[in-house]
């Protein structure tokens, strides 16, 4: 007897929705047990703890998805996640595993700050300034992805390791700048750069609540949807991802496609960094991203690399982050429990995916030999 793991065939479409939903409900149940114990230990009776847990869950969904200010916050958190998620999808379609979203985001933020504070400082025209900074962000995101791209295309290095390692380089590069040469001269030696000039801040909507980055990311998703489904690039890159040999026979230049896929992937991530800077941060600082680049990997994957689905999943994840913040603020949950919860959600989503899409078969030895 042998164990064999194989992909289930002919799964109905509704399973694509049902599996994540069931997985999330599972993680909520497990977290519910932890919350129940937490509340009971903080001096409540079991009954009180139970109703407190229910009310905490209510809070977690009603504020980020049901309250207008909560939705604004969710949208703000969604923007960087969606940008990087879309960027990653561009490479993942070719089964090129760019793990460097975080680094590309940081390089975009670095380039945006370079543009806003030094290169283009003095440009008063908002439209021109923002366009220039977006291009800077995209260029440096692409540059950062170019390193693994050329290494993969010409030396067959593994892009997973190279992109991952470059994340740390990018983060430390930003640290070097904000702790050193770019420190705000008027900032009392605090490790922050100076604030962006007014022309380098994104315009806002809804009474100043949400910056226009949300529109940019939606437009970008629509463009990518078109590219993936209607252009020869979309078709060829999907083939190259599915079957390299077939792609070669069809005359597709794999090296060229690899390089372009990673460059565009990085450019979109870098643009996300620039948007985050111009929309929210307005100055560069250590650790401005709480791991958006890594969360985006899971987002792209859960959305099955579909750009519009990436928007939706980023919105849900943004809401999860905002909802978790509310749990801390109003239910006194320690940050560590929040991390456990986020870990549980991701774990169940991936576990659910694996369990429902694959099955284990016991195969007799003879059958294998045949």
């Amino acid at each position: 007897m042998k164990l064999r793991i194989e992909k289930r065939k002919d799964l109905p479409f509704y399973m694509n929705i049902l599996v994540p939903v069931v997985s999330i409900i599972f993680s909520l149940l497990v977290m519910g047990i932890i919350l129940l114990i937490f509340f009971q230990r903080s001096g409540m009776s079991w009954g009180q703890a139970f109703s407190e847990t229910l009310s905490a869950y209510g809070e977690m969904f009603s504020w980020p998805f049901g309250n207008v200010y909560g939705i604004y916050q969710t949208l703000l958190k969604m923007v960087p996640l969606a940008f990087v998620g879309l960027g990653l999808s561009f490479a993942y379609r070719m089964k090129i595993w760019n793990i460097g979203g975080e680094g590309q985001l940081y390089m975009g933020a670095f380039a945006a700050t370079w543009g806003a504070l030094f290169l283009f400082n003095g440009i008063e025209n908002k439209f021109l300034m923002i366009t220039l900074i977006l291009l800077m962000g995209a260029a440096f995101g692409a540059l950062w992805a170019a390193i693994p791209a050329f290494m993969k295309a010409f030396a067959k290095t593994d892009e997973i390791v190279v992109t991952l390692m470059l994340n740390y380089v990018a983060i430390f590069w930003v640290d070097y700048l904000v702790y050193g040469p770019w420190k705000d001269p008027k900032g009392y030696n605090f490790p922050l750069t100076a604030e962006y000039p007014e022309s380098a801040k994104l315009p806002t909507m809804f009474n100043g609540e949400v910056h226009v980055g949300i529109i940019m990311v939606i437009v970008l998703a629509v463009i990518l949807q078109y590219v993936y489904s209607r252009t020869s690039w979309g078709f060829n890159s999907a083939i190259a991802g599915d079957n390299q040999k077939a792609a070669k026979y069809a005359g597709i230049n794999i090296g060229f496609y690899t390089i372009v896929a990673l460059l565009v992937s990085g450019a979109i991530g870098g643009m996300g960094g620039a948007v985050q800077m111009m929309g929210i941060q307005h100055r560069l600082q250590h650790g401005f991203s709480p791991g958006y680049g890594y969360t985006a990997i899971i987002i792209a994957w859960l959305a099955k690399l579909n750009p519009l689905a990436i928007l939706l999943v980023s919105f849900l994840f943004g809401g999860l982050l905002v909802g978790n913040e509310q749990l801390q603020m109003f239910y006194r949950l320690p940050l560590a429990l929040i991390y456990i919860f986020q870990g549980l959600v991701l774990f169940s989503l991936m576990g659910g995916e694996a369990i429902f899409n694959y099955r284990i078969r016991f195969v007799k030895e003879r059958a294998v030999e045949e």
Binding site: Y188, N189, M329
Partner: protein
């Protein structure tokens, strides 16, 4: 006397009125409440006012909120949910507080350690340099190697001022001793703090002081069998064989005062900077410190409280030997708040652009 009676009546009336609707008070913390340091001290203050006011107030808090733009959504959420008073307890929340305060003119914001105010934003801080100076007296006497280590957070005026006060205390009793500074560039990073302490211990430091939010430096000192001076709150239980004492915060009574003012409607935006005379800062001393030294410390403490002595009284020279404060002069508050130079017995540099 009369004004006070009116005030008391006002508070009573206010609290009667508010018994129907409790004052909602929120605290935004930069570290975990269990950091045993800075955030822990603020949270003790929160627990104190919860006990004092009982049902008349409702407090909530959030821990480990990163400094910078990310903090805005948290402060915003509290304001939007109708919290009446929000304490933001780290320097890096300054811009977020000012931004949110513009949108919520009826909410009162108190920002700890910053310098920007508005009609509904006040700032508060303590003259922790006073107990810093006293802890320097102890360190200067207890050292044998004349090498004293200091694990420091960020090279900002607040921290520089504390190191200088500590060094001046040392100079008072032991002009031969030097303070060696290592920057951690974080308020709270126990692993890095411990490493920094160990590298100071390796150059022969036999007293370790610090300005961090965790007791990691104390633990390193205890492992090496030398004395240490903590920071923020009583850190004795983390290193009982090493801990000499610590400059500590006592926020409770101050928070009580602010909440009373807000309840009575007499709150006004101000920049509060209280010292040992107000009790907002103090020096915790352990029993490892000999009685004679304790007596010396208490003499200086009384002198500072009665304003017959100031830790920064001139002449003060910087590391290049330049006279910064002439003999007999005392730097103004604004000079203290922007201090960016080390006194002459500090070894280490303040990074610049």
């Amino acid at each position: 006397m009369k004004r006070r009676t009116i005030l008391v009546i006002a508070i009573l009336l206010a609290s009667m009125f508010l018994s129907a609707k409790a004052l909602k008070v929120a605290y935004v913390y930069v570290g975990p409440v269990g950091d045993a340091g800075w955030t822990y001290a603020h949270d003790l203050g929160r627990q104190y006012v919860e006990k004092v006011f009982g049902d008349a107030i409702k407090t909530d808090f959030i821990e480990s909120v990163p400094e910078g733009a990310e903090s805005e959504s948290v402060i915003r959420s509290y304001a939007q949910r109708g919290y009446d008073l929000i304490f933001a307890t780290s320097f890096g929340y300054m811009d977020s507080v000012i931004n949110v305060a513009k949108k919520y003119p009826k909410t009162i914001f108190m920002h700890c350690s910053g310098y920007k105010t508005a009609n509904n934003v006040g700032t508060y801080f303590g003259r922790i340099y006073e107990p810093d100076f006293l802890s320097g007296l102890i360190a200067g006497i207890m050292t044998k190697s004349n090498i004293i280590g200091y694990v420091a957070a960020y090279p900002i005026p607040e921290v520089v001022r504390g190191i200088n006060a500590f060094a001046l205390g040392i100079e008072y009793v032991n002009p031969a001793a030097k303070v060696h500074v290592i920057w951690v560039n974080s308020w709270y990073d126990p692993a890095l703090e411990k490493e920094a302490a160990i590298s100071l211990l390796n150059i022969g430091a036999d007293v370790i002081a610090q300005g961090q939010d965790s007791p990691a430096a104390q633990q390193a000192a205890q492992e090496y069998g030398v004395y240490s001076i903590g920071y923020n709150s009583d850190m004795e239980k983390f290193a009982p064989k090493s801990y000499l004492g610590a400059p500590v915060w006592n926020w409770g009574p101050y928070y009580e005062r602010v909440i009373k003012e807000v309840m009575a409607g007499t709150w006004k935006s101000e920049q509060y900077w209280g010292g040992m005379a107000d009790g907002v800062v103090d020096l915790d001393i352990s029993d490892l410190v000999p009685n004679t030294v304790k007596k010396l410390v208490s003499v200086f403490k009384e002198a500072i409280i009665s304003e017959t002595f100031h830790p920064f009284v001139g002449p003060l020279y910087d590391q290049e030997g330049k006279l910064r404060v002439p003999a007999g002069d005392i730097p103004s508050d604004s000079e203290l708040l922007s201090m960016d130079w080390f006194v002459d017995n500090v070894v280490g540099t303040i990074p610049r652009q």
